[in-house]
């Protein structure tokens, strides 16, 4: 009960933040009721997915200060668990998703325990390496379709199938991922005020001091890594049902790992709203720049140059991301 109360308690945020967050939440809920394009809907779903990936990354990367560039392996574990269980044994999404989360968490303990003996750049490199190794294994593992991956048949199921999460219209996927999105916010709100949350922040500030205070630094990192993993794996399961076709090169690529970290860092690592802001800017920016300046306009590649330029500008202006800019403005206004 105490946990639920903590999760729903946002009273430490300024009223302005809560007003904006409330208005945005209502806008998300009613978004499908207003005229919208299929492209806008697909962009919204991508945004929500990457917000959740970012929230997961933010626990270990933002609050814990451990730069993890290997999250794609857990996207893959979630996606493959759901796809394999559905295709081979017709197991519904709502059963396979938690199983995928458990498998991913189990794998995260195996990977995380030795990896957290490393620090800084070495840890980041090791996370990349572990993803590449797992991806290579999946690419030759016949049981999971090897490099060709798996496809959830587009003709076998009758949409809407709420048990298997097979829909034709994206509105169902939107509300499903929106539900996960709100649950994710509540969970992270609880997490940041939990004992583990405080331990992590002290580890981030000064690991030796944290250790001298009696915090089991290594174990706190491993546990948080598992929490981050569960988030990412959950969205991975959703991804499998949404796209209906997964392959290692698409699901477990280094690009995904970097994008996840980039969204959270650019939005503002270590803050509740940071990953959401990062995804909210980068996902629509990339999609719509491509739409306006891409193939049809005959300006192929210009969209990518502008996209990269904006990322570099934000990073150069405020390394703590967009949330850092907001806080800077706030401090100036107060003083």
């Amino acid at each position: 009960m105490e946990t639920i109360r903590n999760a729903l308690d946002f009273s430490d945020f300024p009223r302005l933040d809560l007003t904006v967050a409330g208005a945005v939440s209502i806008a998300f809920v009613v978004f499908p009721l207003f005229p919208h394009s299929a492209f806008a809907m697909a962009t919204m779903i991508q945004f929500l997915m990457f917000s959740l990936y970012g929230m997961g990354w933010n626990t270990i990367g933002g609050y814990g200060g451990q730069v993890d560039l290997g999250k794609a392996q857990y996207v893959g574990i979630g996606a493959y668990t759901t796809a394999v269980m559905l295709i081979r044994w017709d197991v519904p999404f709502w059963v396979s998703m938690p199983i995928g989360m458990c498998l991913a968490v189990g794998w995260s303990f195996i990977i995380g325990y030795p990896l957290f003996r490393l620090k800084g750049h070495y840890f980041a490199i090791a996370t990349i390496a572990s993803t590449l190794v797992l991806k290579d294994i999946f690419e030759v593992w016949g049981f999971v379709g090897a490099a060709r991956g798996l496809e959830i048949s587009p003709i076998k199921y009758n949409p809407p199938d709420f048990l298997r999460l097979i829909f034709r219209d994206d509105i169902y996927y939107f509300y499903t991922i929106l539900g996960f999105f709100f649950l994710g916010i509540f969970y992270i709100n609880w997490f940041r005020k939990s004992r583990l949350g405080f331990q992590l922040r002290s580890i981030k500030d000064n690991e030796d001091v944290a250790r001298s205070l009696g915090i089991n630094v290594h174990w706190a990192k491993v546990k948080t890594y598992a929490i981050a993993t569960a988030f990412v794996s959950m969205v991975g399961s959703f991804h499998a049902c949404y796209i209906k076709s997964i392959e290692p090169e698409d699901t477990m690529s280094l690009d995904i790992s970097i994008l996840i970290a980039l969204m959270a860092m650019l939005g503002g690592a270590g803050s509740l709203w940071g990953p959401i802001i990062g995804a909210g800017i980068l996902i629509p920016l990339k999609s719509y720049l491509k739409e306006w300046l891409g193939a049809q306009a005959g300006l192929v590649g210009i969209d990518l140059i502008i996209y990269a330029g904006i990322i570099m500008l934000i990073s150069a202006f405020e390394p703590r991301g967009i949330w850092g800019i907001v806080e800077k403005i706030r401090r100036r206004t107060r003083s």
Binding site: F39, A147, R148, P154, E249, K290, G294
Partner: protein, 437 residues
């Protein structure tokens, strides 16, 4: 009251006359929108440009009249059975990303209201896009994805004009067999032990991994020994360890399935490490792109690639020569396997729409299932286009065929592709063994 009644009658009368006098075409279809999804940025951007140019040229011919071209679509302006409706292309760039491809397909179908889709080159993207089309009952024609699995899924809204990799890989082994039997033009029978050891390196998405599997299958069937077989990432910035592994296998024949940038990098690395197999063969794609030739220059002399179109085809097919001239005028390059197939894909769309006489999906579906385009109307050297409507390869064109070409230096000092397989249409003696870099 009476005056109001009279006024109403007058208005209705005028409206009725306007309706009768209006040309019937005004109520018909003005344009047919085809969504075209290709990789226009990223590692396969060069292929994307070629595909786009092929489709645009076919559209220009279909929307205008070019009476001297012996093909039905060049004789009419627009789609004749749709009141001369013009083809309008809406291009999208999938970047080689299957997830993005699926989102773009939804956009084309739901927002742009396209009548059909053409694409996507990458088999992995074609898989997700065709699944979206199947969900929304929107017809999709694929002209250049060759993973055999694509037409084995029982889809009812997906048709593929190009032959697939099973046929192409079989062609390769027929060529190797022909080498041992003395069937290859300009080469005496080679003892099998001299070319028995094979090694393959294929990029690791849907397409490459399937080709790798097929090479294993056929090597066994034809009695060759596959000493090394692995997959690699097409985006790799360095392939030196892969090439070391190939060299260590001491293979006589090296086989590749690569996209453009990795095909170039692979050959550069083979050259740098002084690899010297007797045969180097590429499964089309990167090995056939103009950039492959322009970047690597003379060093590719002797390398083989499978394809469905070579500039030499113009010597045996007048239509191919005419279209090639138009394409060269537009791009500065000859038609290649990708552009010729993209051209044929759009041509198939036009033929299907002519036969359907409607843009209703069900009519297009029925027309596609019944269509027959004779080989004489195509730029590619196939017997024609006719889609399978039963069995385990629904929607596959059953009249396609492949070619194997070899890069050779001509008398003018330029590198060009000569046909070496099928043996009966060979355009030059095959260079065997590969002379080295």
């Amino acid at each position: 009251m009476r005056s109001i009644f009279r006024f109403s009658m007058l208005v209705f009368g005028l409206l009725a006359m306007a309706g009768l006098l209006a040309p019937t075409g005004a109520l018909g279809v003005k344009e047919v929108k085809i969504g075209v999804i290709y990789p226009l940025t990223g590692g396969a951007a060069a292929a994307g440009r070629e595909l786009r140019a092929g489709v645009e040229l076919a559209t220009k011919i279909a929307n205008g009249v070019m009476a001297d071209l012996p093909m039905t679509m060049a004789q009419n302006s627009g789609i004749k059975n749709l009141g001369g409706a013009k083809i309008k292309l809406i291009f999208k760039d999938h970047e080689g990303n299957p997830t993005l491809g699926a989102d773009l397909a939804k956009k084309l179908i739901l927002d742009d209201k396209v009548d059909g889709i053409l694409g996507c080159y990458f088999s992995s993207v074609t898989k997700t896009v065709s699944a979206v089309c199947e969900q929304y009952n929107v017809p999709m024609i694929n002209a250049s994805s060759t993973s055999p699995a694509l037409t084995k899924r029982g889809l009812k809204w997906f048709w593929r004009t190009t032959p697939h990799d099973k046929w192409f890989t079989k062609d390769l082994f027929e060529l190797l067999k022909g080498l041992t039997e003395g069937k290859v033009q300009g080469v005496k029978a080679v003892p099998k032990k001299e070319i028995k050891n094979l090694a393959s390196a294929c990029e690791k998405t849907e397409w490459g991994s399937h080709v790798s599997g097929l090479i294993k299958e056929f090597a066994k069937e034809y009695g060759f020994k596959l000493r090394k077989s692995f997959l690699y990432a097409a985006k790799s910035a360095d392939l030196s360890s892969e090439v070391r592994s190939l060299k260590a296998s001491r293979a006589d024949v090296m086989l590749f399935a690569s996209y453009t940038s990795d095909a170039i990098l692979m050959v550069k690395t083979l050259k740098a490490q002084k690899a010297h197999p007797k045969v180097i063969w590429g499964q089309d794609a990167g090995f056939e792109k103009p950039e492959f030739r322009s970047t690597l220059g003379d060093s590719i002399s002797g390398i083989l690639t499978r394809t469905v179109f070579l500039p030499k085809v113009v010597e045996i097919k007048k239509l191919a020569g005419q279209v090639n001239a138009l394409y060269k005028k537009k791009t500065g390059n000859d038609l290649g396997g990708a552009s010729a197939r993209a051209f044929t894909g759009l041509q198939t769309w036009v033929a299907v729409l002519e036969k359907a006489g409607s843009t209703k999906p069900a009519d297009i579906q029925a027309a596609a299932n019944a269509i027959y385009i004779p080989g004489k109307e195509l730029v590619v050297p196939w017997k024609g286009i006719k889609f399978s409507t039963s069995g385990d390869e629904l929607g596959q064109n059953i009249l396609g065929s492949g070619l194997i070409g070899q890069y050779q230096k001509g008398k003018d000092g330029k590198i060009s592709l000569e046909i070496v397989y099928p043996f009966d249409v060979s355009s030059a003696d095959m260079i065997f063994p590969f002379a080295g870099f």
